[in-house]
């Protein structure tokens, strides 16, 4: 779909690629069922993910200070790429067990395709985040706003993950592939949430000084912490 790639200037080609990836994903992914993603292709999705996640990270920290902005711009891509690294072996094993038929490279490609869309959607919402950060809002308002943005972007990324999975590994049963991709998505979300909890702060409470990482005040495990919160809530309601 991108016309005359050698004649078009590079920035324009990049914009055209982003536009095509958003509007006509089927034209960007090769619909050939036997397609093996080349290293360069995976690199494009990785670069896209890192760049746009950094952009979103900038807006996340903007309500605290510019230093927190820069820190979040580094941490956001790290969070998602590290999640990929942690989940890939288990994902590949699951892939073999369920007979979904992805190769390791294909699995990485599908994950990065979903991630790049997540990054694009999240960064397209970052002007709104920047705006609220600069015009002044409370920490909790900003946290909920960005949580909403990330949930929406995550849902979009998950949908793209399923969509891209359909184009790869031809000849395998579509149902198994879909079940596998949903399981991979859930595993990634499970690991990603805990990793995000470990790497916090991303937004940073404006009333507290900037720190690289925050430990000590609450439990290190997100799920244990949330379970305790729920137990406290029920206990207080029962009194």
């Amino acid at each position: 779909m991108i016309a005359h790639p050698e004649r078009t200037p590079r920035p324009r080609r990049v914009l055209e690629w982003i536009d095509a990836w958003l509007r006509r994903p089927e034209s960007v992914i090769n619909p050939d069922p036997g397609w093996k993603p080349a290293r360069g292709r995976i690199g494009v999705y990785a670069i896209c993910s890192v760049f746009f996640l950094s952009l979103f990270g900038l807006s996340l920290g903007a309500s605290h200070s510019w230093r927190m902005s820069l820190l979040s711009a580094v941490k956001m891509p790290l969070l998602f790429l590290a999640t990929l690294g942690i989940c890939l072996p288990a994902g590949f094993l699951l892939n073999l067990m369920l007979g979904a038929g992805f190769s390791r490279r294909e699995l990485a490609a599908v994950y990065l395709m979903g991630l790049s869309l997540l990054a694009l959607i999240a960064s397209s919402l970052s002007p709104i985040g920047f705006f609220f950060a600069l015009t002044g809002c409370r920490y909790h308002f900003y946290t909920f706003l960005n949580l909403g943005f990330l949930l929406y972007a995550g849902w979009a990324g998950g949908r793209r993950l399923l969509f891209c999975g359909k184009f790869l590994t031809g000849g395998r049963p579509a149902g198994r592939r879909a079940v596998f991709l949903v399981l991979v998505f859930l595993l990634t979300a499970f690991v990603g949430l805990q990793l995000g909890w470990t790497l916090r702060p991303f937004i940073g409470d404006p009333e507290r000084p900037m720190t690289w990482f925050r430990y000590g005040d609450v439990d290190r495990n997100l799920y244990v912490q949330q379970w305790q919160n729920l137990a406290d809530l029920l206990r207080s309601a029962g009194k």
């Binding site: 958003l22 509007r23 002007p127 709104i128 002044g136 809002c137 979009a156």
Partner: protein, 256 residues
């Protein structure tokens, strides 16, 4: 122009039969608003043609800035000449910035839900809607000015202008829906009403907060002139929640 032979197509609502239907290489500055209001479907179809959209954007943007400045001047006119001048700067800024902040997310959301509209097409649909909104306000500015000169009531002036803004906003929404429908038809698709509705809510959400940040637009009589309200930068929504939970709090009075 004087003998009627060189009139561009559709400029006065009458298209000479012997002329080509689309002879205009780029948007003619004079007739854009006239055509947008008089024959919107035809104008929008022409604007959404591939390669033509970009040419219309600067023309529409200047119309928005000029028309909003006229109404802004009347809005601030109750307080002082200085307030009229600053409101004439701030109101166009409000309209243009609100669109710029929301445009990327609307474009990506549209793509996500299967729309094939390009970024420029989405931007042009917005520019049309905002232009209609601003022109409507500019057309109502003489009415507002008349009441400003004759009545002298600040409360009435404020309510009347807020009502006019609401009327302008509704006209803008109406034209936005028309523009999006035309753009969808041009690319052979149906209109995504759900996405559009959610986005309009988002736009209102951002626009309200931006208007709150840029206040005062009217300037209460007796208060000294301020370009931007000093003090704590506050969030409109937090202020509303605070007002509901503590209606008589001292802070609410100060922030409003």
């Amino acid at each position: 122009m004087n003998d009627g032979v060189n009139i561009p197509n559709g400029e006065y609502g009458v298209a000479p039969e012997n002329e080509n239907r689309n002879p205009i290489p780029r948007a003619p500055a004079r007739s854009v608003i006239d055509r947008l209001l008089r024959e919107p479907e035809e104008f929008l179809r022409e604007m959404f043609q591939p390669g033509r959209t970009g040419g219309f954007l600067p023309v529409l943007t200047w119309r928005i800035i000029f028309a909003a400045a006229v109404f802004g001047a009347v809005m601030g006119g109750f307080h002082s000449v200085l307030m009229a001048g600053t409101s004439a700067v701030k109101l166009p800024l409000l309209y243009v910035l609100a669109v710029l902040i929301c445009l990327p997310s609307f474009y990506t959301s549209n793509c996500l839900f299967g729309s094939r509209l390009s970024f420029l097409q989405v931007a042009a649909a917005f520019a049309c809607a905002t232009a209609v909104n601003a022109v409507m306000l500019a057309a109502l500015a003489p009415v507002s000015l008349f009441f400003l000169v004759t009545s002298g009531s600040y409360g009435f002036h404020k309510l009347l202008n807020v009502f006019f803004c609401a009327v302008g906003g509704l006209c803008g929404i109406w034209y936005f829906v028309r523009a999006m429908r035309t753009a969808a038809e041009a690319s052979g698709q149906r209109l995504r009403k759900g996405v559009m509705f959610i986005w309009l809510l988002l736009y209102a959400f951002v626009g309200t907060q931006l208007g709150w940040t840029l206040r005062p637009f009217f300037g209460a009589p007796g208060q000294p002139f301020e370009f931007i309200r000093k003090g704590r930068i506050s969030n409109f929504y937090e202020n509303i929640i605070q007002t509901i939970s503590e209606p008589d709090s001292e802070r609410n009075g100060r922030d409003n």
